[in-house]
């Protein structure tokens, strides 16, 4: 069994497990306080968001500032589901979310399979089709969901309360990640045809729109428990160190495997040179939207995890100013380097939330955000390519497939790690 994995994989999994074990023991023994425990979990969540953004920007070259909007969607959707389960003792949120995401997911896949064969379809028309079908199906899902809810609630109540909570939590996180991915598909479809800076601004607009909608979530959207601009309270705090580490390791492995596959090489080739990639027969639009959707899926996942750390959500957390944080992290850690991203995320959480908050003398807490941009400026001026540049630990390194002999013309588009 073990020899199926390469040495670097074993190293990666082993060291991840060891780090988790040490941290868990330290937390259980009470050596690491709850404060540091929160910061470590925050760092891991940030790492997941930033890996998603690195996939979009670092590997695929799409300058997106919308990551924070999808993070917000994931956070609020997951929080709403668990809140309804924990406080209202009803699984209606879970059932409706699951039905709506899976029905519209099926519809999107079905339409995608058909529409991608149609020649000359403009993105806006496709967007109209997708939008109408998802809206109709979501309305249908609400109707079915209300009918099915008592059954699901009863079934979940048969389980022990703690286990049911964990199940609801994991399902909520997964389905809200899918929700974020579907919204990103709908939104990205027309937007991805724009030029890179214009795409950035449109996604920034998306983040701002999401934040404004969340500000008015109780009045305009009708989710009373989200309490609009007053902030949502009472979310069960179920994101443990264990879940955060499991998801982080899974996400790193998933992105690594994706990037090593032919899909990943296509995604990277779009970044390197769109025209050359097109000449190699790569469907640029397809791979752009693929990277965007997967990146947003990770943002939604991280959002769901984030919501259950503090048990409190406020729309100001999802302000567009903060949406630069993942961008700063990936540039800081090195564009196109997963190692750098994970490292920079933890550094960001530890320095900004932890060290500066604790160690700045009394009365100097407000200096935190004066020191932080200065650190950023100095790093950018000294190392414009980020701390890690393009370094990766062996597990994450790109491995190009061997060229088959006698068939040199069939070469895959050469994907270099950095130009």
């Amino acid at each position: 069994m073990l020899n199926k994995f390469s040495k670097s994989t074993l190293w990666f999994l082993g060291s991840a497990f060891a780090v988790y074990l040490v941290l868990q023991i330290l937390v259980s023994a009470g050596i690491l306080s709850q404060f540091w425990n929160t910061i470590i979990r925050l760092g891991a969540v940030m790492a997941i968001v930033s890996i998603g953004l690195n996939l979009i920007y670092g590997f695929n070259g799409q300058f997106s500032l919308g990551q924070w909007g999808f993070y917000a969607i994931g956070a609020y959707a997951a929080a709403d589901v668990t809140y309804r389960w924990d406080v209202n003792k009803s699984a209606d949120g879970l059932v409706v979310l699951a039905l709506a995401t899976s029905l519209s997911g099926i519809a999107i896949l079905w339409l995608h399979a058909r529409l991608s064969k149609v020649r000359g379809l403009d993105p806006l028309s496709a967007f109209t089709l997708y939008l109408t079908s998802t809206i109709l199906l979501s309305a249908l899902a609400v109707q079915i969901g209300i009918a099915v809810t008592p059954v699901v609630t009863g079934a979940l109540n048969l389980l022990p309360a703690a286990a049911a909570m964990q199940i609801v939590f994991i399902l909520a996180v997964l389905f809200s990640a899918i929700l974020a991915a579907e919204i990103s598909y709908l939104f990205g479809l027309p937007i991805l045809s724009l030029g890179s800076d214009y795409f950035g601004i449109a996604t920034l607009g998306f983040t701002i729109i999401v934040k404004i909608l969340l500000d008015n979530s109780d009045t305009l959207l009708g989710f009373v428990e989200m309490k609009g601009a007053r902030g949502m309270v009472g979310i069960p705090k179920v994101t443990s160190l264990f879940w955060v580490f499991i998801f982080l390791v899974l996400v790193v492995a998933l992105v690594r495997n994706l990037l090593r596959s032919s899909y990943g090489r296509a995604i990277i080739s779009v970044r390197e040179d769109e025209i050359a990639a097109k000449a190699m027969g790569i469907d640029i639009a397809e791979y752009k939207i693929m990277a965007f959707v997967i990146g947003s899926f990770l943002a939604g996942l991280a959002g769901g995890l984030y919501a259950h750390i503090n048990g409190f959500l406020h729309p100001d957390t999802f302000n567009f100013i903060k949406s630069f944080d993942p961008m700063i992290i990936i540039v800081f850690g090195g564009l196109g380097s997963i190692t750098g991203t994970v490292f920079a995320s933890f550094a960001w959480a530890l320095i900004l939330e932890g060290v500066l908050r604790l160690w700045l003398p009394q009365g100097f807490e407000t200096w935190r955000f004066v020191v932080y941009p200065l650190l950023l400026l100095v790093t950018m001026l000294l190392r414009p390519a980020g701390i890690f540049g393009n370094y990766e630990i062996p597990f994450l390194r790109q491995v190009l497939p061997k060229l088959r002999k006698n068939q040199p013309s069939e070469a895959e588009p050469v994907a270099e790690v950095r130009p």
């Binding site: 149609v118 403009d122 806006l124 724009l194 950035g200 449109a202 729109i209 100013i321 400026l377």
Partner: protein, 370 residues
């Protein structure tokens, strides 16, 4: 593909892009219907909103020009520009409260008539904030952006965000500008006129007469100052050697250098001119809304940037038109659709315009640039 009537009809729909067009048409019709019904129910209120929108739009135009000029010349989204605008407002505040700059003409030349003295005083205040913003922008450009001229564009962008954070949070420190809202003391007294069919009546604390539009001297000053500055900018860019050099550098930096143009100097000048306009905008914004605080630059800055993108970034008339559209969109949607959603609507307009014209209203198609 068989050629049954149904499938050929479908083919036609796809080729003519009807679905997308119908969707856009529906959205536009909805907005137009809202506006027309608003105009019918109360035309005066509607006109009043248009006037308010103009006032806001001209302030946005002053900020948007800085964004569009800097983007045109170095392809950098200068996120710190909104904070330069904030600094401009604070500088004018301190020059009024600490140094009484608006009273200098009266003190130096006691013989001046009151109106002229106030006007010159206001001009002195605005010039002080323009000059200090220009100096600040030159310093920022030299320290933060110039070393990164040849680095990847994203590094410069992150640096711009860093500078923006630094300016905001440094301004929020207790000994700088404090993190509180500060009431702005206007160097000019507000006079409001009621314009109606019976002529123009100045309001002196009395209620406006029935069926009139209110128009204050603040709106007049904002519109006139903005137009004067815009014409000045247009003159600089079109008629002077510096403007010619700017356009040359924006078109192709390397070739411009070969022609003996000091590209770095020209880029600094561009930053300075843009920041000077933002400084003037900061003062006008503070006069109009009479409240300043350290985060005031973020949203107006962002909206002006969106206005620049809307008009086609890199184009000066585009920034102007885009800013007017943004001002109207914000005021009208706050008045007729939903106040909390006004920013969301403004950004939705941006997204829709970008979908129809991917490089903005006046934007040129993107060139291949080495």
């Amino acid at each position: 593909m068989n050629t049954s009537p149904a499938s050929s009809f479908l083919q036609k729909i796809i080729e003519r892009r009807w679905l997308g067009k119908v969707f856009l048409l529906l959205v536009t019709l909805l907005a137009a219907w809202q506006l027309v019904s608003a105009l019918q129910t109360n035309p005066l209120l509607f006109l009043q909103q248009i006037v308010n929108g103009l006032q806001l739009g001209f302030v946005y135009a002053l900020i948007a020009l800085g964004y569009t000029m800097v983007y045109g010349i170095v392809r950098l989204i200068n996120f710190a520009h909104g904070d330069v605008f904030m600094i401009g407002a604070f500088v004018s505040f301190y020059s009024v409260t600490r140094f009484q700059a608006h009273l200098w003409p009266k003190a130096l030349l006691p013989g001046l008539p009151d109106g002229v003295a106030i006007a010159i005083g206001a001009i002195i205040v605005i010039v002080i904030s323009m000059i200090s913003c220009a100096l600040l922008a030159i310093i920022i450009e030299r320290i933060a952006y110039k070393p990164l001229r040849n680095a990847p564009r994203i590094s410069a962008l992150i640096t711009a965000i860093g500078v923006s954070f630094f300016l905001e949070y440094f301004a929020a420190l207790q000994f700088v500008f404090t993190p509180n809202f500060i009431t702005y003391k206007r160097p000019i007294e507000v006079v409001t006129w009621a314009i109606s069919a019976n002529g123009i009546v100045p309001l002196r604390g009395n209620a406006p007469p029935e069926g009139s539009i209110l128009f204050s001297n603040i709106a007049l000053i904002i519109i006139l100052t903005s137009i004067a500055l815009l014409l000045g900018l247009q003159f600089i860019v079109r008629q002077t050697r510096i403007g010619k050099a700017m356009r040359a550098v924006a078109y192709d930096k390397q070739t411009a250098r070969l022609m003996g143009i000091n590209a770095d100097g020209i880029i600094s000048t561009t930053f300075a001119i843009g920041a000077a306009l933002a400084g003037a905008g900061g003062m006008l914004y503070a006069i109009a809304f009479s409240q300043i605080f350290f985060w005031m630059g973020i949203l107006p800055g962002l909206k002006s940037f969106v206005a620049a993108v809307l008009g086609g970034i890199g184009s000066i008339p585009g920034a102007f038109v885009g800013a007017l559209i943004m001002g109207q969109a914000e005021v009208l949607s706050a008045a007729y659709i939903s106040t909390p959603l006004r920013d969301a609507i403004a950004f939705s307009i941006l997204i829709i315009v970008l979908l129809v014209r991917p490089t903005g209203i006046f934007g040129e198609p993107e060139r291949e640039k080495a």
